[in-house]
């Protein structure tokens, strides 16, 4: 298939990439740009392991073509972290609360939760549960993930607005 060059803005940096029309955003982020934390889990937009933020909104990287991402700001979990590789406070909550077991769902969970808390009002436990419906976890039983997000929401609430997305 013919490849064409697209300019993708990922985690605040521009990348010129050659893609085929059928390459998913997930394929390009994982295989071409080396962002291994964007993961293939189902290819149907059900499990959420390929979640990225597109202009700040969570989307499934597997359901989006790479060419469609041109002109948008893509953020992966790496984009939430410090330039020195330091953890975002939300990640620290995940670590402290034991919210990662196999860790495969973690980046999708973190980005989804980040978006939820960023939208303002401190979410209830029920609202957290609802927001995570598109992010499946098979290891933790969700309780510790929800604990971690609750803790982060409280933290973010008490410290004013949480850290912004790298744009």
């Amino acid at each position: 298939m013919t490849k064409r060059k697209v300019l993708l803005a990922v985690n605040g940096r521009g990348h010129e990439v050659w893609v085929t029309p059928s390459d998913s955003l997930l394929d390009i982020l994982h295989d071409e740009l080396g962002l291994a934390e964007v993961r293939y889990g189902c290819g149907e937009g059900v499990c959420g392991t390929c979640t990225v933020l597109l202009d700040g909104e969570p989307v499934n990287g597997c359901l989006m073509l790479a060419v469609q991402a041109e002109g948008h700001q893509v953020t992966t979990m790496l984009g939430l972290m410090g330039a020195d590789g330091s953890m975002h406070p939300l990640q620290a909550c995940f670590l402290r609360r034991g919210a990662s077991q196999c860790g495969f769902c973690t980046p999708g969970m973190v980005l989804t939760a980040f978006d939820l808390v960023r939208r303002g009002r401190r979410p209830t436990r029920e609202e957290i549960r609802y927001a995570l419906i598109g992010s499946l976890c098979r290891c933790t039983g969700y309780t510790k993930i929800i604990d971690a997000i609750e803790e982060y929401a409280a933290l973010a609430g008490s410290q004013g607005a949480p850290d912004g997305v790298t744009r």
Binding site: M1, E37, Q101, C102, Y130, I133, R138, C139
Partner: protein
């Protein structure tokens, strides 16, 4: 004859509640990489010139293969290799999962030749320069079939004149365990309760699909894959016709396994493609392929007849189990053994008769899945307990109380229980967590409370004479290296070993590096399955650490001028003793581990150590059903409140609580995580998950139709941990990986029965089935009135 080998504690090690690292929940090691997203799973690996692999799968559940035409596929630009059975040096795998004790010897081809026996059986392999081309080429392989009659459930497979899945017969294995005189005891019972319980095909649904990369390095076929078992290297070597030393398997940290990565998945195909193309190859099964063709949990049909005295004492139990093994043996012989051995659960039954069979069908093969046969039977034995309670007008706790096993009791296999049984305590603690009874949310809603107790083995069956090894090295700078062949499913298998070593040697966790899962570079640990790794490798590391300390302690003792027995290893240092009563090491003069390592080096005392830990060994007689079965068990109870909507049949779980005796919690947060995760996976099994196979065709091949629990489906799982200190694992620990999935279906069924007065007997307990039960109940009531 049973030989028990228990590690001896070394003086000076913290004892009892005084552990410094064990019993805490540090967030360390792989978990840091996981929350940073920087852990490299099996698919996150790339080599120059890497090809992409694809399995071409058969499209009939039972057919003769007339021809396989790869001409078009091979001609597609970008295709590098198309491989069929003729290209496989040794195309027969014989597993003998019970070690040859009882099963038929049936070979499984790596790639199908004359016939396919289940939908999705591999028939050819493709390697191409891109995944898209490999996928396209797979569509171009033309297989001509001649359909053969198949058998799609165990009854059909056992019928007279049934088509044979394999020439050797449709019964793969029959296990019998008998003790006492069941027939007489049943006849003499005050009440006899009968029930038939069925379970379904279930998918592991780890979030990380089967994946890996294979390449050749110095003539060695090297595979870096998502696997629970690096020891498959030996089987892969056989398939390739190579010496065992020419295959190396590296296990990446897994994105979940649950038993589904215990058998080989991508390994033989990657190995063949890398071997034939001499190039690196990556293979990732897509989710739909994984749902279609990976191994599944065995559907069981369980018939129970239970006799009891009017006071609730169980006098006899007769159990028949039929497990659908699918088209090939895999681990079915062992799964059915576990079902047979655990068929009576945590109860003392003097007269037992169990017959458990694994039956070949033309469904996809079933094999290991968290719980491994011992979990399906919980639905059977706990249902019987509730029915007996109801029949005798006793409470459900009462009828269990008077039958719980205790240390020293005889099991149906003739073994004596060697450790404490805290199942009674777990039952009361689980119920206590639920609190006051729930109330219905409105009209047409009924609430109920249920419990489910279980006994689950940890460790391989004793006749396998299990062992695990670990190698520790105190480095010149005082840091510690651990090498272990252990594989890590995500439950903290590697991290727990670090905690144990830190406890004994006083090395800070941050100063420990652990290298795992490499068949070439690590001492073998056996695979991570059967809830065996904390038990086995935990003991191996504990012993290795103690033995290493024993070796280097005399050097420290000499330098510090105190007897070796008084030394305390803590805080990266060796201290000459402990101030009585202070609980801490306060002597001012001490030695850093780096100084100790240097002194050892000068004296020619080795600071690295390999330790091999052997579990008890014994034998089992399949003819008498007597002998040594499992090393030990983990006990627990779950309790739940549910609400049933009698209009829709919908079951809503309102509260859920789980309590298990883990002997000793090495990392309590990880223990909680295992219990919560196991319970959630069990809730999917109980209520929503079903592959729905019809005539060999899988109905749920999408993740959007195979319903694993999401964050909104069920409430939080409350947990409580008992630490009896009597497990056979390190420092008295018991395994907790598999046990918590076992109780769930029984617990929910118990709660539904409490709510609506009918016992569900089929899994999953879908709204349709619950409605049918309610309809049946109304019909029966109407007939009674008429």
């Amino acid at each position: 004859m049973t030989v028990v080998q228990q590690p001896q504690p070394v003086r000076g090690e913290q004892q009892g509640a005084g552990y410094r690292v064990v019993g805490t929940s540090p967030a360390h090691h792989d978990f840091v990489d996981k929350v940073k997203g920087s852990l490299h799973y099996a698919a996150d690996w790339r080599l120059p010139g890497m090809l992409h692999g694809r399995v071409v799968r058969g499209q009939r559940p039972s057919a003769r293969i007339l021809s396989i035409d790869v001409t078009q596929a091979s001609a597609l630009p970008g295709v590098v290799a198309v491989i069929t059975a003729a290209d496989v040096p040794n195309n027969r795998i014989v597993e003998l999962a019970s070690g040859g004790l009882a099963e038929l010897e049936v070979a499984m081809p790596v790639l199908a030749t004359e016939r396919v026996r289940y939908l999705g059986e591999p028939v050819a392999l493709i390697a191409a320069v891109t995944q898209q081309i490999a996928d396209e080429a797979a569509e171009l392989v033309v297989v001509e079939y001649d359909d053969l009659p198949g058998v799609f459930d165990v009854h059909a497979a056992l019928a007279d004149g049934a088509p044979l899945v394999h020439e050797a017969g449709n019964t793969l294995v029959t296990w019998e365990i008998h003790s006492g005189d069941t027939t007489t005891a049943l006849a003499a019972s005050d009440v006899v309760v009968e029930g038939e319980y069925t379970s379904q095909h279930v998918e592991h649904a780890y979030l990380e699909p089967e994946a890996g990369v294979g390449w050749l390095e110095n003539g060695v076929v090297t595979l870096r894959v998502s696997t629970q078992v690096i020891e498959h290297a030996a089987t892969i070597a056989k398939i390739l016709g190579l010496p065992a030393s020419k295959v190396r398997v590296i296990a990446a940290y897994m994105g979940g396994g649950f038993g589904g990565k215990e058998d080989m998945t991508v390994e033989p195909y990657l190995a063949l493609l890398a071997w034939h193309t001499r190039r690196p190859v990556r293979m990732i099964w897509d989710r739909q392929e994984s749902l279609l063709a990976s191994t599944k949990r065995h559907p069981f049909i369980m018939r129970y007849r239970t006799g009891a005295r009017s006071d609730g004492t169980i006098t006899a139990q007769q159990v028949e189990i039929l497990g659908d093994a699918g088209a090939y043996p895999y681990l079915s012989p062992r799964v059915l053994f576990a079902g047979a051995a655990l068929a009576c659960g945590p109860y003392r039954v003097a007269n037992v008769s169990v017959v458990a069979r694994a039956i070949f069908t033309n469904n996809m093969p079933t094999s290991a899945f968290r719980g491994f046969g011992a979990m399906q039977v919980v639905f059977g034995y706990e249902s019987q307990m509730d029915l007996i309670a109801e029949l005798l007008g006793l409470s459900r706790t009462q009828v269990r109380e008077c039958n719980f096993l205790a240390k020293g009791d005889l099991l149906p296999t003739g073994e004596r229980l060697a450790t404490r049984v805290e199942v009674r305590q777990s039952m009361h603690r689980a119920l206590a967590m639920l609190g006051e009874p729930s109330t219905p949310s409105g009209r047409g809603k009924r609430v109920g409370r249920g419990i489910g107790c279980n006994r689950h083995p940890y460790g391989r069956t004793i006749w396998f004479r299990d062992r695990a090894s670990a190698w520790l090295s105190l480095q010149a700078d005082g840091t510690l290296l651990i090498r272990s062949g252990i594989t890590d499913l995500g439950a903290g298998q590697a991290a727990s070993l670090c905690q144990i070593a830190a406890e004994v040697l006083g090395v800070a966790l941050d100063d420990i590096s652990i290298y795992i899962g490499d068949s070439a570079l690590n001492p073998p640990a056996g695979g991570t399955f059967a809830t065996r790794q904390l038990f086995m490798s935990g003991n191996a590391v504990l012993n290795a650490a103690r033995e290493l300390r024993e070796r280097i302690a005399p050097v420290a003792a000499e330098l510090l001028g105190v007897p070796a027995g008084q030394l305390v290893f803590d805080d990266g240092r060796v201290w000459p003793g402990r101030t009585p009563g202070s609980g801490g090491a306060t002597d001012s003069v001490s030695l850093t581990l780096a100084e100790l390592a240097a002194s050892c080096e000068r004296r020619g005392v080795h600071t690295s150590h390999l330790s091999i830990w052997r579990a008890e060994s014994g034998s089992f007689n399949p003819r008498t059903g007597q002998g040594d079965s499992f090393p030990d068990y983990t006990y627990g109870t779950h309790a739940a409140d549910v609400e049933v909507d009698v209009e829709t049949g919908q079951v809503t779980v309102l509260r859920y609580a789980a309590c298990h005796d883990v002997g000793r919690a090495i990392n309590p947060m990880r223990v909680e995580g295992q219990i919560q995760g196991g319970a959630m996976q069990g809730l999917g099994y109980a209520l929503t998950e079903d592959l729905g196979i019809k005539d060999g065709y899988v109905q749920s091949t999408l993740f959007s139709s195979y319903l694993i629990p999401n964050s909104y489906d069920f409430p939080d799982v409350q947990t409580d941990i008992i630490e009896s200190g009597e497990g056979k694992g390190p420092l008295g620990a018991r395994g907790i990986g598999e046990p918590p999935i076992g109780n769930v279906a029984a617990t929910i069924a118990s709660a539904i029965q409490d709510a609506i007065g009918v016992r569900p007997t089929q899994l999953p307990m879908t709204p349709e089935r619950v409605l049918a039960m309610l309809d049946e109940q109304s019909r029966a009531e109407a007939e009674d009135q008429a």
